[in-house]
C-alpha cells in the first residue's frame, strides 16, 4: 500500500483532532444563534406552523414600548449598581483577608469560606431565605429597623425600592466570587515589588496600594469587571423567584422579559429579538476587554 505524503497525513490528523469540535461548535452554537437571529425578524410563535416576516418590528417594540424600555433601563440601573459595589467590596474584603493571613490565618480561612458561601449556594434556594429575611412583618430586616425606631418597608413589593433590594442581593451573591479572584491576584504580586516600594518611600498603606497593589491587580480587576458585568446583565433567578418582575414591572429585567415573552407567552420572535440585544451587549463587553483594556493592563 502506498503511503500518503507527509503533508496530507498531517492535514488528515489535524482534521481528526479539530474536526469534531468544530462541527459541534457549528451545530450547537453558531447554528442556534443564526436561527435566533433570523427568528428575531419574524412574528413566529412556538408551535405555530408558519411565520411572517415583520422586519425590525420586534426591535421597535423592545426599544419603543414603555415595557421594553422599562426592562432595559431596569437592567442598566441594576448593572450600574452591582458592578462598582460588587467589585469594590470584593477588592476590599480580599485586601482585608489577605492582610489577615499574616496574623490570623485560620480566621482568615474561615471568613473566606463564609464569604464564598453565597456563591456555592443555589440562588433559588437562597431566595427563599431572602424572602424570609425581607418579609414585611416577620423579616429580620424590618424587625431590626423597627427596633432601632425606623419605619418598616416593603422591600420586595414597593415599586420605588424593589430594584435596589434585588441589587443588594446581587451584590451579596457576587462579592464572594470576586473576593476569591482578587485574593488569587494579590497572592501573585511579587513580594519584591513591595520591598522596592518600601525602599523607594512608597511604604505607607496608601502609596503601597497605588504604587504596587492596584496596578498589579489590573488584569485581575479587568477579568472581575467583565465577569461581574456579564453576570449582572444576566440577572434572572432573584427576579423570577422573588418578584416575577413586579410590582408593575418595577423589577422587570431583560432576561426575565425574555423568559416571560418566550416561555410564558410563547412569542418566540420577540424573545429572539431580546436575545439578540442581550447577545450584542455581552459581545461588546468581551470585545472591549480584548481590544481596548487588555493592552493597558498588561503593560506592554
Amino acid at each position: 500500500m502506498r503511503r500518503l505524503p507527509l503533508a496530507a497525513r498531517d492535514a488528515l490528523t489535524n482534521t481528526w483532532l479539530v474536526g469534531p469540535a468544530t462541527l459541534a461548535m457549528l451545530m450547537f452554537i453558531f447554528l442556534p444563534v443564526l436561527i435566533v437571529a433570523v427568528l428575531s425578524f419574524t412574528d413566529y410563535q412556538f408551535g405555530a406552523r408558519s411565520f411572517g416576516w415583520i422586519g425590525l418590528e420586534n426591535y421597535e417594540k423592545l426599544f419603543g414600548s414603555a415595557l421594553g424600555r422599562r426592562a432595559i433601563t431596569n437592567t442598566l440601573l441594576y448593572v450600574a449598581i452591582v458592578i462598582p459595589a460588587a467589585v469594590g467590596l470584593g477588592l476590599l474584603v480580599a485586601l482585608g483577608l489577605h492582610r489577615m493571613m499574616d496574623w490570623a490565618p485560620q480566621l482568615s480561612n474561615v471568613l473566606r469560606s463564609v464569604y464564598f458561601l453565597p456563591v456555592a449556594a443555589t440562588l433559588v434556594a437562597m431566595s427563599v431565605a431572602w424572602q424570609m429575611v425581607l418579609h414585611p412583618s416577620l423579616g429580620v430586616v424590618n424587625q431590626t429597623l423597627v427596633g432601632l425606631g425606623g419605619e418598616p418597608r416593603n422591600w420586595l413589593s414597593d415599586r420605588s425600592i424593589v430594584l435596589y433590594t434585588l441589587a443588594v442581593i446581587g451584590i451579596w451573591q457576587t462579592v464572594g466570587y470576586n473576593m476569591v479572584l482578587f485574593l488569587a491576584g494579590l497572592v501573585a504580586i511579587p513580594p519584591e515589588l513591595y520591598d522596592a516600594a518600601e525602599v523607594d518611600g512608597a511604604g505607607g498603606n496608601w502609596s503601597r496600594f497605588w504604587t504596587v497593589t492596584w496596578p498589579m491587580l489590573g488584569p485581575t480587576t479587568l477579568f472581575v469587571l467583565v465577569i461581574t458585568a456579564t453576570n449582572a446583565f444576566r440577572v434572572f433567578e432573584t427576579v423570577a423567584t422573588l418578584t416575577q418582575g413586579g410590582p408593575a414591572f418595577a423589577s422587570d429585567t431583560l432576561v426575565y422579559a425574555l423568559y416571560r415573552e418566550g416561555f410564558v407567552y410563547f412569542k418566540a420572535g420577540y424573545a429572539s429579538a431580546i436575545t439578540m440585544v442581550f447577545f450584542a451587549v455581552l459581545l461588546t463587553l468581551t470585545l472591549m476587554q480584548f481590544r481596548i483594556v487588555e493592552r493597558r493592563v498588561h503593560y506592554r
Binding site: E192, L193, D195, V199, D200, G201, S207, T211, M216, G218
Partner: protein, 365 residues
C-alpha cells in the same frame, strides 16, 4: 583601613519560628568600601541584606548606621538604596517614572502625585523640573536616555538591570545594597556589568554591599568579602586574605575557581617531610603542577585543554581523585601514565581534622 564605619551589624540574630537563619552576625561596612556577602544559597546572606536595608528586623542585636541605632527606622528613612535580584521594576510605569519614583515620593505630596490633576498643585512645577533634571542625569550615566519612555516589559535583562540601578542611584543614598544583581544576566553581559558596577562604585564613592553566591564575582569586585556559612560569618577579609589564608576548610572550598584538593593523612601525602600526621592538607589545583622531581605521583585520568592552561584529573595510588593545573603548553601524556606532581610548601593549607579550622604551619609541626 582607617575610614569610618557606615553600617555595622552587632551580634545580629534572626529567627523564623524555630529555625535560626542568622546567628550572632557581626559585619562592618566602611565608607567607600565594596563589600561582598558571599555564600551558598540559604546561608542567610539575603536576610543579612534585608536587615541592613530595614526590610527585616533582627530578633536580637543592633543595626548601626553612622553610629546610630536605626532599629525603629524604615527602609526609606535610612536612605539606603537597594537593587533586587528580580529588578522589581514597576511594570505599569515607564523607565522615566520608575527611576523618578523615589524622587516623586520625596518631593511631591499625595495630591501632586495624582496624574494630570497634580500639575495644578502649588510648587509642584519646580519639583517636577528638579526630578526631570535628576532622572535625565542618571539616565545619561547609565546610557538609558533612549529608553526613558519604554515600559520595563519591553526591555532586555541588561536594560532592566540598568533601570534598577538608576532607581537606586537617583536618590543619592548613603549606601547601596545589591542582591545578586547579575545572576539573571547571561555570562558575557555579567562580566561587562561587573566592571560597570565597579566604575559606578568609584563614581558615587558610597559603600556598596553586594550579595552573591558566585565567588568569582566577589573576588573580582569587592575589597572586603564576608563569607557566610549556615547563618554565621565564617570569615571576613580582603579577597587575597581569603584566598591565601582561609580560616577553615569550608572557606577554602568556597573560594577559588577550581575546587581545592583535600588530603587526609592516609591519602598518600603523609610521607611529605616535615608535616604532621593528623592534619588535613589542602592544596589548590593551581598550586599543584607536574614537576619532574615532584613530591608524589598520580595516574592521569582526564585532561581538559583550556588554552592558557590544562586541567588534569588524576588519581593517587590510594584511589584519591585530585585536580592539578598545568600550563597550556604542557605536553599531556597518555591517560593512565604516572605524573609526578610538585607543590611549594608555602602553598599548603593545614586544617584541624575535627573542627576544620586553619592550623598555622608552626603550630602543626
Amino acid at each position: 583601613m582607617t575610614s569610618q564605619a557606615v553600617l555595622e551589624l552587632r551580634d545580629v540574630t534572626r529567627r523564623f519560628g524555630a529555625s535560626t537563619v542568622l546567628d550572632a552576625v557581626n559585619v562592618t561596612v566602611r565608607d567607600g568600601s565594596f563589600t561582598a556577602l558571599l555564600g551558598a544559597s540559604g546561608c542567610g546572606k539575603s536576610t543579612t541584606l534585608r536587615i541592613m536595608a530595614g526590610l527585616d528586623r533582627p530578633t536580637e542585636g543592633e543595626v548601626l548606621l553612622s553610629g546610630e541605632n536605626v532599629a525603629d527606622k524604615t527602609a526609606y528613612e535610612r536612605n539606603i538604596a537597594m537593587v533586587f535580584q528580580s529588578y522589581a521594576l514597576y511594570p505599569h510605569l515607564t523607565v522615566f517614572q520608575n527611576i523618578a519614583l523615589p524622587l516623586t515620593m520625596r518631593h511631591l505630596n499625595a495630591f501632586s502625585r495624582v496624574p494630570g490633576l497634580g500639575r495644578l498643585a502649588p510648587g509642584s512645577a519646580t519639583a517636577r523640573e528638579l526630578i526631570t533634571k535628576k532622572v535625565t542625569e542618571t539616565a545619561d550615566i547609565l546610557s538609558l536616555a533612549d529608553l526613558l519612555h519604554r515600559k520595563p516589559n519591553s526591555l532586555s535583562g541588561g536594560q532592566k538591570q540598568r533601570v534598577a540601578l538608576g532607581r537606586a542611584l537617583v536618590r543619592d543614598p548613603v549606601m547601596f545594597l545589591l542582591d545578586e544583581p547579575l545572576s539573571n544576566l547571561d555570562a558575557r553581559l555579567r562580566v561587562k556589568m561587573r566592571s560597570e558596577l565597579v566604575s559606578l562604585h568609584k563614581r558615587t564613592d558610597r559603600p556598596f554591599v553586594y550579595v552573591t553566591h558566585d565567588q568569582v564575582e566577589a573576588m573580582a569586585m569587592a575589597d572586603q568579602i564576608i563569607v557566610m556559612i549556615k547563618g554565621k560569618v565564617a570569615q571576613a577579609g580582603s579577597p587575597r586574605d581569603l584566598y591565601d589564608r582561609p580560616a577553615d576548610k569550608e572557606v577554602a572550598a568556597f573560594i577559588g575557581t577550581n575546587s581545592i584538593n583535600f588530603f587526609e593523612p592516609d591519602d598518600g601525602l603523609g610521607q611529605m617531610n616535615g608535616y604532621p600526621v593528623n592534619a588535613l592538607i589542602g592544596i589548590r589545583p593551581e598550586h599543584l603542577a607536574p614537576a619532574a622531581g615532584g613530591h608524589f605521583g598520580a595516574r592521569l585520568e582526564t585532561a581538559e585543554f583550556l588554552g592558557s592552561e590544562t586541567v588534569l584529573g588524576l588519581r593517587t595510588e590510594r584511589g584519591k581523585e585530585i585536580l592539578a593545573i598545568a600550563p597550556g603548553d604542557y605536553p599531556v601524556p597518555a591517560p593512565g601514565s604516572e605524573v609526578r606532581l610538585g607543590v611549594s610548601p608555602e602553598r599548603l593549607h593545614l586544617f584541624d581534622r575535627q573542627s576544620g579550622k586553619r592550623l598555622n604551619a608552626e603550630h602543626a609541626r
